[in-house]
Amino acid sequence: MKTKALTYDFVLSLPPFVFKVKNNIKFVFENACAMYGEACSEQLAGDEFIDFTLSINDGGGLRKIFKPQARFLCDEKEPFKPLTHSQAYAMLEWGMNWTVAAHEFSYVIIHSAVLEKDGKAILFPAPPGSGKSTLTAFLANNGWRLMSDEMALITPNSKTVTPFVRPICLKNASIPLAKQWFPDSVFSSIAKDTHKGDVIHMAPNKSAMLGKQQTAEIVGVVFPNYDTTKSLEIYQLNMAESYMQLVDNAFNFTAIGEPAFSTITRIIEQVRSFEIFYNDLKDVEAFLSEDVID
């Protein structure tokens, strides 16, 4: 008889996707419960359709005892090298992003935060280090609805963006700041020394979870750059400039091809794009509310 190893499997129902997660690391399950609340369950509710089967494990064997790792698999594919054990939960979050970006072509996917107010959405496409997530966390707790921290799912040939509500990934210096600013928020355990530095995830708040199936129309694109020397400087981008920046952040452009090209050029034509340099989040919020969404 084989003895069954201890497992902490769970299902994440995160519209528009359902993930089944096979897992043998206890704190991964605990973090998932903290981050997603009711959307995280041990059993599948009824006949929900599972989109992807993922697994997180500690590498097994002797490794588990003297130097535990964290491995991520989507089906049986392993897209990343293993990380250290404490990074297991962060790895699951990144793994879900990878899974969607690598398989989903019914949306044009832009690496971008998405925030909504009055049914109007703004995209914040940005590479790591631009302060995007801190800005996202601030806006999500100051009158804006968090639709996504990492990926904008855009219906081809439209300006409609579908939410994919996930925790906000905060790094290094922004971790104590966020804990101080948002004392009521729920945070994951810290993943130490990742390729992005120390990383923590902040659970989406109630308004984000309530609106998790509510789409919105894109009205603006803002490329953020955190800059300690500037409280707020705004540059409106011309279409050609905005196009190249947006394309740089498009995960699945080449997989989708023509519809991605027409979708992105159409958005560029129909909404204004800005590049901002800032250190004052309140000023940014005022600019977005007063100048971009009205």
């Binding site: 006949d47 064997g61 490794r63 090298k81 293993p82 398989h103 072509f105």
Partner: protein
């Protein structure tokens, strides 16, 4: 609770209409299994051609469409990629023939080739003249192709014993090519006079050559039945099935099979072709109706009992979600059989000592004992 079994997955491939009768949880299992088997786009193509997609759960439709789109996109690109390779290598090698997945796609650009429908491939396989293989490698390196990093042992394996050189990856486009000079490893002692196979090439246009359909079938069968690893076994078997099916529809099945047997005999691989025909017959009897002579030939030259034992499992989908589908003993036998076919026993022993030494360490110490974690890499 058994959600889905191997038989049902095979049935869904052969009779796509059965997919519409599955419960949502079975359907989601089917999609996950097919994706892992690299069969999702192929089944999607079947569903689309029969206009069955609208009858499915809306989420299932999305997954099938995603996979189909991915495969179609690849087909769109392969001709340009092939033209580029031909122009870069035309002066280096006396001939250049596209093989396997890329060849199916290229042939489809001219006349409908059902094997190409929903067939994706991770690399482009080409066959060039052995005498000019170093020159090909150098030309490609100048044109931005980068040899993939492999360890010294593997490099030695490629250079001394193999029928190909280590894969090369294009620096900006990310395309991977596998450059072969024969179809089986030289060390196996079975490598044919490649000229005999080249005689069966056909020109598609733009100086792009592939093997004739019967020769493609033979190559495919050799590749499948001399392999040691079967994660794409079912996909490869269905490649062969679709070749047959296409001929069945055109009433040319018997002629096709006879040509296949003739080519295989010419290059001394009749064994592999009979194995292919045998397991195709067990997959789909309808292929061999009214072909009594061929039936008899298959019975005479078919698999040994150990081959039956191995292939009746490893050629069909194996996935943790399919109850009882995973057969480690058969997989192990297939591994040993495949290796034995590749090289003589004394070299095999050496090869396996190196490979299995790693394998044993990994199975005890964890899969990634030899893989640096991100953390270690940073400090290195």
């Amino acid at each position: 609770m058994i959600e889905l079994d191997v038989e049902q997955v095979i049935d869904c491939y052969l009779h796509p209409e059965k997919i519409t009768a599955l419960e949502p949880n079975q359907l989601s299992t089917l999609i996950i299994v097919l994706r892992q088997q690299k069969m999702l786009a192929r089944v999607a193509a079947n569903l689309i051609s029969l206009n069955l997609l609208p009858d499915l759960h809306v989420k299932a439709q999305r997954h099938f469409k995603n996979a189909y789109l991915m495969a179609s996109k690849q087909k769109l690109q392969v001709w340009e990629e092939a033209k580029l390779l031909v122009s870069q290598l035309s002066s280096a090698s006396a001939y250049l023939i596209f093989l396997k997945g890329a060849a199916y796609s290229l042939a489809d650009s001219l006349a409908s080739n059902k094997v190409a429908e929903g067939r994706y491939y991770s690399d482009i396989d080409i066959l060039v003249d052995k005498r000019s293989i170093n020159e090909c490698e150098q030309v490609l390196a100048i044109k931005g192709w980068i040899a993939q990093e492999i360890n010294n042992y593997d490099d030695k394996y490629y250079r001394q014993w193999a029928h190909e050189i280590p894969p090369m990856c294009h620096g900006t486009r990310g395309t991977i090519i596998d450059i072969h000079h024969n179809i089986v490893p030289l060390i196996s002692g079975a490598a044919p006079n490649i000229q005999l196979l080249i005689n069966h090439r056909v020109l598609l246009g733009d100086d792009i050559w592939v093997l004739s359909q019967p020769a493609q079938f033979v190559h495919s069968a050799i590749h499948l039945f001399r392999n040691e690893e079967f994660s794409s076994g079912f996909r490869d078997l269905t490649d062969l099935h679709i070749f047959m099916k296409q001929n069945l529809l055109e009433n040319t099945c018997e002629k096709f099979v006879r040509e296949v047997i003739a080519i295989a005999s010419e290059i001394n691989f009749a064994k592999e072709v009979y194995l292919a025909l045998y397991f195709l017959r067990s997959l789909d009897k309808s292929l061999f109706e009214n072909m009594d002579d061929i039936d008899e030939l298959i019975d005479t030259h078919g698999p040994t009992s150990i081959e039956k034992y191995i292939f009746s499992k490893v050629l069909f989908p194996q996935h943790a979600l399919l109850d009882g589908s995973i057969t480690p003993i058969q997989q192990f036998c297939a591994l040993i059989r495949g290796h034995l076919l590749k090289m003589p026993i004394h070299i095999l022993t050496y090869h396996l000592t190196v490979k299995f030494g790693r394998w044993i360490v990994e199975s005890v110490a964890g899969k990634h004992f030899f893989t640096p974690t991100e953390e270690n890499q940073k400090t290195n």
